[in-house]
Symmetry: C2
Subunit: 206 residues, 2 copies
């Protein structure tokens, strides 16, 4: 029985460190997370932590990458066949909104935006396996829908970006600037329906 199957790197406690670091970074942000707190949360000594990661920034990048990959796995199921464009778009919208309103989505976004200035690698690596991935998936769905004659779109990439943005209307700024603590399902439905209506008005069959 090989117990090291999931530890491609060195040392038995690698995963523990990543997990603990993830928790603390999410809770406190990058600057706010002390390495002592991370070590404590990971149930590991600071010395061990530093034997894996030469510094805090590197640890953060590794944590971010790990979480991105995890997310990417979760989100594979996207386009289903027997659905109208309207249904599919509504579905996608729900997924997107649920993610960016989640505690996780919110915190990730906050940290990345804050640190993207100082550490471009962080922003880039997150964008690529987060928004960029979703972006390409939506665009490729639209491409197919156009081929089937369900939609009429000249610039599918732009259309995908527009749709993603429409799903953020009102809700996203309110979250980001911490205006509301709770957002109701009605508010969400209003925005999603608004997004789909608008999208179909522009790109729906004539």
């Amino acid at each position: 029985m090989n117990k090291h199957a999931s530890s491609p790197k060195k040392g038995r406690k690698y995963d523990q460190v990543i997990e603990g670091a993830w928790q603390v970074f999410m809770r406190e942000g990058f600057e706010g997370a002390s390495v002592d707190a991370i070590a404590r949360a990971a149930g590991v000594s600071k010395a061990t932590l530093y034997s894996y990661f030469s510094d805090k920034k590197l640890l953060f990048i590794e944590v971010a990458r790990t979480e991105c990959l995890r997310q990417a796995d979760t989100a594979i199921v996207m386009g289903q066949s027997g659905q109208s464009a309207r249904e599919t778009l509504t579905n996608m919208a729900q997924r997107m909104v649920r993610f960016y309103l989640s505690d996780l989505g919110q915190r990730v976004f906050r940290i990345c935006v804050a640190e993207a200035d100082r550490f471009p690698e962080i922003g880039r690596s997150f964008y690529e396996c987060g928004p960029e991935l979703a972006r390409r998936r939506v665009a490729s769905y639209l491409q197919e829908a156009v081929a089937r004659g369900e939609l009429m779109i000249e610039d599918c990439q732009l259309a995908a970006d527009q749709f993603a943005e429409l799903c953020k209307a009102d809700l996203f700024p309110r979250m980001m600037f911490n205006i509301t603590d709770h957002i109701t399902q009605d508010e969400i439905d209003r925005v999603i329906n608004g997004a789909v209506d608008m999208f179909m008005a522009r790109y729906g069959p004539a």
Copy 2:
């Protein structure tokens, strides 16, 4: 001659402090900006600074508010009469994009998003005299356009939010995650035209 017309608070060096703090906060972010650096940039002693603002957080809030008001003044000229809805919307879109792509807009956003978690007042106060203000202005323009029969909108507030988001498509995420250092005028035009086209397709006269 009353030289204190623009200093409703106490002390002659108030404006200097705000100005210096603004510069350093913009350059370094909230955590990154040391009070010593701010005092130096403002050409003022730390003691003086602390006689105005009891702590760093309060100083930041005041700086953010001041800058918001300055922006609000700049943006008063919004709705002009003899223009079509299309023209007016394009105009508004240009203004918005120019702002959030500017160095200033970008940095303010970054700081507010990062700190809104820890200090809700920061996020709130910025939102209120920034996005919220613009939001209400656009909504009220739409209201009038509907009254004149130029547009057909049921939920003007939602429409305003949608328009604002459409203007961010592609460009905004790329900025936030630091993917591109430069964005061309063509890319901007593509997004703005796309936003106006979509908006008119949905809410334009039948």
